[in-house]
């Protein structure tokens, strides 16, 4: 144990040994909480569900009178004779159109029947599953983007159904990461449309650079998924920075076909709903590679390439909480924390020695063992030490003597009644045991509740407080008891005075 805790102070750089991790408030760094805006994902899911239902009914030769999406409600109207049959289809546990999730004991869709109209809505678990899938995907993309920037040991964690917690130690300016995570990077190559009554539908989008509006077909020729690589490059012809890309097999084929058929048409490169550039197709592009120009600086081209390589986020990410601590503030906090720990420790030790003399020294020795144990256990648990965590250690120092004091006071009372020192000593311990347990359990309850509800650095406080109480109980009932019993045995016939 002593070895473990000393490893913290002696070999801070040895990777093999376990050590206490410093929280972001002590080592400096950025903490970001991101929330996935799943609305578009859910809308999309409902759109595709609509098509799925249409196909399914067509295949099973059931007539649909009307089928439409009303906000988040699918309204399906059928002939009266089919109502029973369809209701069975939707509630069938083997149903493919309304899958049943055995782990949640629920269907994907909640079905309400109103005469001959079926109102279909995503169930609670249907939504959770969509959110989970999109969160898993988003975490993958976030990890790729963060790794590409090359920060030191990032920590990426799932929080609930739609949040991602990102801890970036040592990063004192998270702006670049924030701007990379703020983009969905949904890339699509689409053709300009001549008329607005095309079968796929059309929409007007703006060209970023000129503000010019183009009418584009909704048909996506190739999307970001078809990209296998992207990198920034200097175009030697016109000295522009461009992003060159390579397509996968499917993408290359489709790209070649589309360019072959549409020579003379403008090809729009759409990123997150805006057109980056829209060159006129002059020739067939068959090699499966190409380049995007759009008045990039080298930095913006690098970022775009990075975003394209890492893939598109399933939905936009919003930053809902951000905390950044600079490295020098972290160091100042460490220094202040250690200084106050040392001073607090010396004050308590001095006080106890003055008050209890020899028993005070026993209590102090116990306190030192207690601290070593506390730090060892925190190390073994690989707990994160935060500034409030250090405060928790100092508080443990102040409160740990309580148990010893309770026992000493009890022994003092017992020695005034009982002549035999050994019996008085034993009584002192046994009578104060329940009180000590009662008193400490209350603090543990408070600390556990804090652990459950607390966030960030405050969690660190509850951990040290909890572990501190356990090590206190251990050191008092084993170490201090051993020491006092040795002392009492040696002086068993003398009068023991506890001041």
């Amino acid at each position: 144990m002593v070895m473990v805790s000393s490893s913290n102070f002696l070999d801070l750089d040895l990777d093999k040994q376990k050590k206490i991790k410093l929280g972001l408030d002590l080592q400096g760094g950025s903490y970001l909480l991101l929330e996935l805006d799943n609305e578009p994902v859910i809308k999309q899911k409902l759109q595709s569900k609509l098509l799925e239902i249409k196909d399914y009914f067509k295949k099973n030769k059931i007539k649909i009178l009307s089928l439409k999406l009303d906000d988040k409600l699918i309204k399906l109207k059928v002939s009266k004779d089919d109502v029973e049959k369809i209701s069975e289809i939707f509630s069938d546990k083997e149903s493919t159109i309304n899958p049943y999730y055995f782990q949640y004991k629920a269907h994907q869709l909640d079905v309400k029947i109103n005469g001959d109209v079926f109102n279909l809505e995503l169930s609670k678990y249907g939504i959770i599953l969509i959110k989970n899938a999109s969160l898993d995907q988003a975490i993958e993309i976030v990890r790729k983007r963060v790794d590409e920037v090359g920060t030191n040991e990032p920590n990426i964690l799932k929080r609930g159904n739609d949040r991602i917690l990102l801890e970036l130690p040592g990063l004192d300016n998270p702006d670049r990461i924030k701007s990379l995570l703020g983009k969905t990077a949904d890339l699509a190559f689409r053709l300009e449309s001549k008329s607005s009554n095309e079968s796929f539908g059309t929409e007007k989008l703006k060209l970023i650079e000129t503000g010019e509006e183009l009418l584009l077909s909704k048909r996506v020729i190739i999307s970001g998924d078809n990209l296998v690589d992207a990198s920034p490059r200097m175009d030697s012809l016109n000295n522009q920075t461009v992003v060159s890309f390579t397509l996968d097999r499917v993408g290359s084929k489709r790209f070649a076909q589309a360019t072959k058929r549409n020579i003379g048409t403008r090809l729009a490169i759409v990123l997150d709903g805006q057109i980056i550039s829209a060159p006129v197709i002059r020739d067939v592009i068959a090699g499966g590679s190409g380049q995007i120009s759009g008045g990039f600086t080298f930095q913006s081209a690098t970022d775009l390439a990075l975003l394209l390589r890492s893939g598109a986020l399933p939905a936009p990410l919003n930053i809902i909480e951000e905390r950044t601590v600079g490295p020098d503030l972290g160091q100042d906090s460490i220094n202040a924390g250690i200084l106050s720990l040392i001073i607090g420790f010396l004050l308590v030790i001095g006080f106890m020695t003055l008050k209890y003399r020899i028993f005070g020294i026993i209590a102090n020795f116990t306190l030192i063992i207690n601290l070593i144990l506390l730090i060892s256990i925190l190390t073994l648990l690989e707990a994160t030490l935060t500034l409030p965590g250090i405060a928790g250690i100092i508080l443990t120092v102040g409160m740990a003597v309580d148990a010893n004091v309770l026992i000493f006071e009890r022994i003092k009372e017992e020695t005034s009644k009982e002549k035999n020192n050994l019996i008085a000593f034993d009584n002192g311990y046994s009578k104060s045991k329940i009180t000590i347990l009662d008193a400490n359990i209350t603090t543990i309850i408070a600390a556990i509740i804090l652990f459950i509800f607390g966030s960030g650095p405050v969690k660190g406080f509850s951990i040290t407080l909890c572990v501190g109480i356990l090590t206190t109980l251990f050191s008092v009932f084993f170490i201090a008891r051993l020491l006092t019993s040795i002392y009492v045995k040696i002086n068993k016939n003398k009068e023991i005075i506890i001041k």
Binding site: D25, L33, N173, D175, K178, S179, G182, N318, I319, I320, E321, E322, R323, T324, V325, G326, A336, G337, S340, L341, I343, G344, L347, V348, F351, M352, K355, L387, P388, A391, I394, L395, G398, M399, V401, D402, V405, L406, E409, I434, T435, D438, A439, N440, I441, T442, T443, I445, A446, A447, I449, L450, F453, G454, S455, G456, P457, V458, F461, L465
Partner: protein
């Protein structure tokens, strides 16, 4: 040395005093309210260090006022060179916001400066944090109530919880009266106060129960006094060492822990006081007797 202070003589007058303090605290809490930090109110906090001797807070204030950030608050933070700027901002997604702010500020200020800490908390997160904080405090009070109920009789449980409410309300009342900031670490402090105050009360209650079983002829009014005296040195020593540790955090632990340690110091003083002068008179009020605790053993 046998201590025999007459604590019970002061039960009545100090109870009146405590009730007055609680009422005053409630008035402050209701009419003035708490000064929530960005954790609970949402918004942006920036800690700035200006690298010059005696920087002028007014210069900094006017530079920030030029940036159209709405209502801003600037305060000195610990040393003369450190300042904390706070303002509301609902949109956290602009990744260049801080960079732009830094650039604008460097055009306004002639001195070198650095951002030591930046905290942005969105409205959704801040309301969640507030809810979690309130839930945690309520839950801890309830857990204590249940624990004491299991370990003691209901009269003790009510007495202990009354003492806890007393400590929590007055601590928060003082924070409201002095406009001190309430943030996440204050919630941690309040929870720790709950644990500590309970701890203190339990020690005395344990002794009361023991004495109730031992003496059938002493009235509860005097019996509580006896129990307080018997546990007095422990009460004083533990409060002293805890206060010493807390004072060390308050004076040397840096500005970030100031509010936390202040709340804890208040809580320890109040907790010690309430376990003597609130928790015990309530046992007298409920006419607790030997019968009350002996019933428990059957």
């Amino acid at each position: 040395m046998k201590k025999d202070y007459k604590f019970n003589q002061y039960y009545k007058s100090l109870n009146v005093f405590s009730i007055a303090l609680i009422l005053l605290s409630l008035i402050f809490l209701i009419f003035k309210g708490l000064n929530y930090g960005v954790d609970f109110k949402g918004g942006t906090l920036i800690e700035i260090r200006v690298e010059t001797e005696k920087p002028d807070i007014e210069v900094l204030r006017s530079s920030f006022n030029k940036m159209n950030l709405g209502k801003i608050s600037i305060k000195n933070f610990g040393s003369d060179n450190d300042f904390v700027v706070k303002f509301k901002r609902d949109e956290l997604n602009d990744p260049e916001f801080i960079e732009n702010l830094q650039r604008n500020l460097s055009q306004e200020l002639t001195q070198d400066f650095s951002f030591r800490r930046v905290e942005n908390v969105g409205p959704k997160v801040s309301s969640e944090l507030l809810k979690a904080g309130v839930t945690a405090i309520c839950l801890s009070l309830m857990a204590m109530l249940i624990y004491i109920w299991i370990r003691f009789e209901w009269q003790f449980s009510v007495g202990a919880i009354a003492a806890l409410f007393h400590d929590v309300i007055i601590t928060l009342g003082i924070f409201s009266a002095l406009s001190l900031e309430i943030n996440l670490s204050i919630v941690a402090a309040v929870l720790t106060i709950v644990g500590y105050s309970m701890n203190d009360t339990v020690v005395i209650y344990d002794r009361v129960r023991e004495n109730l079983k031992k003496y059938s002829d002493i009235k509860i009014f005097d019996l509580t006094n006896l129990s307080i005296n018997e546990t007095l040195s422990r009460t004083i020593i533990t409060s002293s060492t805890t206060l010493l540790a807390l004072l060390s955090i308050f004076f040397f632990g840096g500005e970030i822990l100031k509010g936390f340690s202040l709340a804890m110091i208040l809580g320890v003083i109040l907790g010690t006081y309430s376990s003597i002068f609130i928790a015990n008179p309530l046992l007298v009020f409920f006419k607790v007797s030997q019968k009350t605790v002996l019933k428990e053993d059957n």
